[in-house]
């Protein structure tokens, strides 16, 4: 029998409502009805061996501490899997369920699953744990258990889940390669016929949405400002000393251009594999305008060109990697007193 731990909040534990939301994680002496419902659904293949509850406020206010305590409790009962909720449309409970499920999966390496309403803010964790959509209130409990239990059992047994639309969990956004029965062209023509006929079809790649960052205030006086050059066009010193990959770069380069007035064919080149490299290799200023910045510096049009430039190859590089590079070096830029940045892309 697979040992499964169940995480719920103070309300489902029968401790109380909002007035008891401050209580810390605790293992229940008696398995509550909501946990028993799961055990029943697993028909002897698995059971809830322990139910842990935590007050929603306690969790939200001291998340790290609560998580450590929860992990400890799971270990103490030898839990092989964790299920959380369902949280329906309760915001803080959903946040706790998503967070606990994601953290336990990452830290303890055991499978986790939760359930909640599609608009619950806790669904932000759907790329870090499996989340099953539920109704928006506890009236949907029976259906939620029926949807969550079989998926939990599969995960507990170490089986791979099928695609989200077949198994009924929320789209995780984690892309996994697989072989289809038919070639892509045939799948495309079939999808076209369905779309034209107004029949339902499932896209193989749901379009992403991109987040936004508000613009920073303008530079007051550019003639006093230190300006840094950055590029995703892969400009590197000749010979690519740090071996930045021509595609799907794993790192970025930081190069000192103190005293460099012009990028020449003999000294700089591009490591980028995604475009015709001939022009950038002839004159890397065509991608990273060091020559112009030096002129402007001499003429007092800008305060200073920052001593280092940062570079990587955008070609086939995961957005998450690019994000990480920039998050890292932008800290250095701020620490070095840079006032503004010019980023060039190819």
């Amino acid at each position: 029998m697979i040992k499964i731990v169940h995480y719920i909040n103070q309300f489902y534990a029968g401790i109380g409502g909002e007035e008891m939301a401050h209580v810390g994680p605790c293992k229940m002496d008696v398995i509550p009805p909501v946990s028993k419902a799961f055990t029943a659904a697993w028909k002897g293949e698995a059971e809830v061996v322990a139910t842990i509850y935590c007050g929603d406020s306690y969790f939200a206010e001291q998340t790290d501490k609560a998580l450590a305590e929860i992990c400890e409790l799971i270990k103490s009962v030898g839990g092989e899997m964790l299920i959380c909720g369902p949280a329906f449309n309760a915001g803080r409970y959903g946040f706790a369920c998503g967070n606990v499920a994601a953290a336990v999966k990452a830290q303890m390496g055991i499978p986790t699953l939760t359930g909640m309403y599609e608009e619950n803010p806790g669904t932000d964790y759907k790329n870090k744990t499996i989340i099953v959509p539920t109704a928006n209130s506890a009236a949907g409990m029976r259906k939620a258990v029926a949807a969550m239990a079989p998926l939990a059992l599969k995960l507990a047994k170490g089986e791979e889940l099928g695609p989200y639309y077949e198994e009924g969990y929320m789209y995780t956004g984690i892309r996994k390669n697989m072989f289809e029965e038919e070639i892509g062209a045939k799948r495309a023509v079939k999808m076209m016929l369905k779309k034209l006929a107004g029949e339902p079809f499932i896209t193989e790649f749901p379009m992403p949405s991109f987040d936004r960052v508000a613009p920073n205030p303008a530079v007051k006086d550019i003639s006093k400002a230190t300006v840094a050059l950055c590029t995703s066009g892969g400009i590197v010193p000749k010979g690519n000393p740090d071996h930045i990959e021509s595609s799907s770069a794993s790192h970025y380069g930081k190069y000192d251009i103190e005293g460099v007035m012009d990028l020449t064919e003999e000294t700089y080149e591009t490591a980028h594999g995604g475009y015709d490299p001939v022009y950038a290799n002839q004159d890397a200023d065509r991608v990273l305008p060091v020559d112009i910045m030096r002129d402007l510096e001499k003429e007092g049009k800008i305060g200073k060109l920052h001593r280092y430039f940062y570079t990587t190859v955008g070609n086939g590089t995961a957005v998450a990697s690019a994000k990480k590079f920039a998050a890292e070096y932008s800290k250095e830029l701020v620490a070095d007193g840079v006032d503004a940045v010019i980023m060039t892309s190819t």
């Binding site: 956004g173 193989e204 991109f210």
Partner: protein, 426 residues
């Protein structure tokens, strides 16, 4: 328009004293090929190899792959604008040496080319692990510029493929496939109740190792236009690109365009296949705007109900794809896109550089960032010294024991965006 493809199933490929096709075996006299290739004075030398499915052989860096064909009746000759004069093709009969492929390797840019493994993990992903491969390793004369070297290698493969195809002229085909399509007026009269579907074929056109040619014309210098579906089966579109290797269309795939094949099969049954629109993916924004405007206009002029759009490559061409999608949907034509993904090695990142809500029907060739482990193989045809730098490789990709750890994008045609393969992602 009607084109018959006479397929001759090739069961073996060998070097021999006389170049010929006999009992399904293709024999090649090495001198014939060398003489042909060395006609080009920019080529210093050439080495020839054969690789067969299941052999422990790695081929790299691969430039282009071509299927040998010959036109036995009807107008024109294969690869118009290259090995035959510019003349309309796509009608009559063409013989195909099915099951073999001619491929070129060489050190043009080095890091912008692909790997083909004939066995093991890599073989699962490339369609060319299943073909009998005739390989030409071409070395240029000292000091030849990259652009000229690329052209020499591309032309050499077309010449050799034409020569080998010619050997099949008088061979009785094992199988005849008939592809027929109607002009706009006939199609409308014959199938008034079927949905009118077109195909927007996007061609990579971004410079060295990123170009495509239509009847000899560099696609970046052309406006979006219309081409007959069967013209491609006679080599009207030729590839000059191979980076990243996984999602560029070798000439072989243009000759066997799977979307056209599927649409022709359905023509008159479930849909009315109206035509093929070819458009480019240029490096100037104005070109991208103009070309995608034109794709949408042509879809509108043809009165289409739906259009399948296939991309070539990734990165900035994602924008061409999205522009095509948005503008074509805006004129009331429903779209299905075929692309591939760069979702990071863990699959958690954004797959495309651009996006739009109208793109609600997408077929994917898989995530090209996935890391694969290619075992050491007994024989390497070509040069593995580029593996660390190849698009999809990294410093240390080539292991001391000769195996390779790299991203799927190093494998020729692994995530093809014309939908040539079964690989997908969810």
């Amino acid at each position: 328009m009607k084109l018959e493809l006479g397929l001759i199933h090739v069961t073996d490929l060998q070097f021999g004293d006389v170049s010929k096709v006999e009992d399904h075996v293709v024999y090649i006299n090495q001198e014939d090929i060398k003489n042909l290739i060395l006609e080009d004075e920019t080529i210093e030398s050439v080495e020839l190899h054969i690789a067969k499915p299941g052999e422990s052989v790695r081929i790299t860096p691969v430039k282009d792959v071509v299927e040998p064909r010959v036109k036995v009746s009807g107008n024109g000759g294969v690869f118009p604008g290259w090995t035959h004069k510019v003349d309309r093709v796509g009608e009559g009969r063409t013989h195909v040496l099915k099951g073999m492929a001619c491929m070129t390797i060489g050190k043009i840019v080095g890091f912008q080319e692909g790997i083909i493994d004939m066995t093991g993990e890599g073989a699962k992903y490339t369609p060319f692990s299943q073909t009998l491969n005739f390989i030409m390793d071409i070395k240029p004369i000292e000091g030849l510029k990259q652009h000229d070297y690329e052209k020499a290698v591309r032309t050499a493969n077309l010449k050799v493929s034409t020569f080998i195809g010619e050997l099949a002229r008088n061979v009785e085909p094992d199988e005849i496939e008939v592809y027929e399509h109607d002009n706009v007026l006939e199609g409308m009269k014959k199938y008034p109740d079927l949905p009118r579907v077109g195909y927007v074929l996007m061609l990579q056109s971004q410079g060295l190792l990123h170009d495509t040619y239509v009847y000899g014309v560099d696609a970046k210098q052309s406006l979006t236009t219309i081409i007959g579906p069967t013209e491609l089966f006679d080599g009207a579109i030729v590839s000059g690109n191979c980076v990243s290797a996984c999602d560029k269309n070798p000439t072989y795939i243009h000759e066997n365009n799977p979307v056209i094949t599927e649409l022709l099969k359905e023509h008159g049954k479930t849909l009315n296949f109206v035509g093929v629109i070819i458009t480019n993916e240029n490096v100037y924004l104005a070109d991208k705007m103009r070309s995608s405007d034109w794709s949408a206009k042509l879809c509108e002029f043809l009165g289409l109900d739906g259009a399948v759009i296939s991309q070539e490559g990734f990165g900035n061409p994602d924008t061409d794809l999205i522009m095509n999608c948005r503008k074509i949907e805006a004129v009331g034509v429903k779209t299905v896109l075929i692309t591939d993904e760069y979702a990071g090695q863990d699959g958690a990142s954004q797959s495309l550089a651009d996006a739009t809500p109208e793109a609600d029907a997408v077929v994917t060739g898989g995530n090209a960032n996935v890391v694969i482990h290619l075992p050491k193989l007994d024989k390497v045809i070509g040069y593995t010294e580029y593996v660390d730098k190849i698009a999809g490789g990294w410093s240390g990709s080539l292991q001391p024991d000769g195996s390779i750890i790299a991203e799927l994008q190093v494998i020729t045609s692994a995530t093809n965006e014309q939908g040539f393969n079964k690989l997908s992602a969810r």
